[in-house]
Symmetry: C2
Subunit: 187 residues, 2 copies
């Protein structure tokens, strides 16, 4: 029987993997727990046993990314010089963007996910801290705009399907060169 | 009666304006012709008289932007030097990004709109040409990544609600400084 599918990896991971695949294909709003169950060839109750709602699934997928961002912020905030902080923040952002690029492609611009993120205080706080690390003290408009430009440039380029066939190491190298070039002209 | 609302601006423009407002609030998928009619205080038939589907509305909203891009491409392609082409392309992109920032905030990341754009050959062709203008001849991965970084950095920053209160002229100045700084380190 198809229920055997759940035996590869933990049941929880299999559900998350199937959910991300369906989100990519049909959007978060267009995906139901029933569709996840169908894709795994299990009963809806088996999915429900792991996650009670799509919100729970989104949360489980996003949680490790938020924890990664929090770790990066802690590391960067410990560095005294503004320039060295920016260097560390940028290489950390490139790493995050490339490692989570499939997820960004699925989630960025999705209204359901964005609402979820905006309501997550840990995410909002760490995103603000990452901005502050790039901005430095008393940023003017051009500095704030440069920070936004860098962050959207990195995350959207990493998520661009145009580069989906490029291996992580190569994409990371190209993004790092690009971002470090940009930093040399940071306001 | 509320039908009087349709008298400000042309009926067509009023419908587009109401549609964009609803798209921003409920997403394209979450907006119906009936909702547009309700917002304008008119019968659905009055909306239907202007546009037969949401596809028609999306098309009417996007068409002028595609024409702007086509004009920019024509101007830039006429310039012989690669560097000067990039300069013109960048200032043109900044102008486009700021002028259409409300629209980008509504449409970017929306699956329905993205599918619409991918199926529009004029859009795809001009987007490719704009990439080629930035890339120059025989671009390597780093150059292509830098082009993507620039484009997503510009359009997403312009669309960021964080800057919605900043006047167009100021935002344009800040984005132009940022993009021109980046160009100085273009691969």
């Amino acid at each position: 029987m198809t229920r055997a599918v759940l035996s590869r990896g933990s049941a929880r991971e299999r559900v998350l993997e199937a959910a991300i695949g369906l989100f990519a294909e049909f959007g978060v709003d267009g995906t139901s727990l029933q569709m996840i169950a169908n894709r795994l060839g299990v009963k809806k109750a088996s999915v429900y046993y792991q996650f009670h709602s799509k919100e729970d699934i989104i949360d489980a997928v996003i949680r490790p990314v938020i924890e990664d961002i929090a770790r990066l912020v802690t590391i960067a905030e410990a560095i005294p010089s503004v320039e060295a902080r920016r260097d560390v923040t940028v290489s950390g952002m490139v790493e995050l963007a490339v490692r989570n690029r499939r997820l960004s492609a699925v989630f960025c611009g999705d209204r359901a996910v964005e609402a979820h993120l905006r309501s997550d205080s840990a995410f909002v706080e760490n995103a603000d801290k990452m901005d502050a690390l790039m901005n430095g003290p008393n940023p003017d408009l051009t500095t704030r705009v440069a920070t936004s430009f860098l962050a959207s440039g990195l995350f959207w380029t990493a998520a661009d399907p145009k580069y989906s066939e490029v291996p992580d190491t190569e994409l990371r190298r190209a993004l790092l060169d690009t971002a470090q070039g940009f930093l040399r002209h940071f306001p």
